[in-house]
Symmetry: C3
Subunit: 159 residues, 3 copies
Amino acid sequence: MLLLSPGLTHTKGSQACTEYANLRLEVKMKVLEIRTPSKETFVDITGRVMEEVSSSGIQKGICSVYVPHTTAGVTINENADPSVKEDILMTFRKIVPDSLPYSHSEGNSPAHVKASLIGSSVNILIDKGQLSLGTWQGIFFCEFDGPRSRRAFIKIFSF
Amino acid sequence: MLLLSPGLTHTKGSQACTEYANLRLEVKMKVLEIRTPSKETFVDITGRVMEEVSSSGIQKGICSVYVPHTTAGVTINENADPSVKEDILMTFRKIVPDSLPYSHSEGNSPAHVKASLIGSSVNILIDKGQLSLGTWQGIFFCEFDGPRSRRAFIKIFSF
Amino acid sequence: MLLLSPGLTHTKGSQACTEYANLRLEVKMKVLEIRTPSKETFVDITGRVMEEVSSSGIQKGICSVYVPHTTAGVTINENADPSVKEDILMTFRKIVPDSLPYSHSEGNSPAHVKASLIGSSVNILIDKGQLSLGTWQGIFFCEFDGPRSRRAFIKIFSF
């Protein structure tokens, strides 16, 4: 039999900020429905993710956002100036030109390449009930082959 | 026996699907041996990862795939049409040309760059004993400097 | 109170190495202060991350490194030959040229694009008190818009 109590946790390393696990072991899942309005667009989902974290009541943990699509992804970048996301999309079009000799018959290979460049998930720490995002950071759902009805899975782990 | 007191767990947010932690706290580790057949190739390891998840008996959790190499990586993309992975490899060769004035004496700098572009790990949620992959998603080990004997670490966390 | 009994944990899959959760459920957080010396540079933080893992006393778990900036990131790549990181930076300058018609008024759009290409976090498994890094792998803080005072969040989860 294993018994877990804060008394069992021993800490070394005076510099480290030790956070004893509280006793809740929770996993919350939410499916976000996202309607993308155009072929290529970054949809700012920061507010919706924050809302899930807030409504979960979880104080410490990790929030994972996962995109189950192969021509879309998710990234963290500046959400103060909207031109940043436009600059990223423009640069991605230069990096992955539509004119390359792609084989895939559906004609959306550039979107597949962009999805692998940007990645399919991000993880953000939760501290004091808040996402530990930097001052300028926002979470963007990245559409590369829209417009479509898309989904993102938000999973919140409490520690 | 694991006893989690629901009384400690307070849930807000009626929209969120709350999943109380089940009683097992398990971590399973598997080292996947992968023989890559050519210089650049994507090896579909979806089936092997699924097999590990299935044989673990874990119903809810997270599956992490980690590549301990610096000229290889792992990505999630379409596994229905094999031409998609060929298109990604072809585009990566355009993005990171062999002809740039690299300094690294081993001559495999393009492979190192591609590894950092694609990333060294992916995380996929497990629900009802299954990987929560999208319909068209597969997991690919990405070789950029083969042929070689490679490894991937699969770690499955149960909640 | 949380009670865990190994007797309840049933294991299938003889090939898999099953690791029963040890008794500590800990989360340790450390903020790393990083002074980047130039506009673009990779700062090797492997030693500092290893030190945190070591001083935490945690034997099994996961270490997450998160960068809260939008013109910087983190990646895992070779740290044996320093020319590899220079080659990656040089290639990124070719992939994301300064000369594109960016809109963002601050003039650092290339740095934002590079941040999304490289990613904002990495996760490394901890086994036997050590990071499960491959032989040649190191962890690099990636500065694309320095010199600046930067931060990285290290969070260590024990299982």
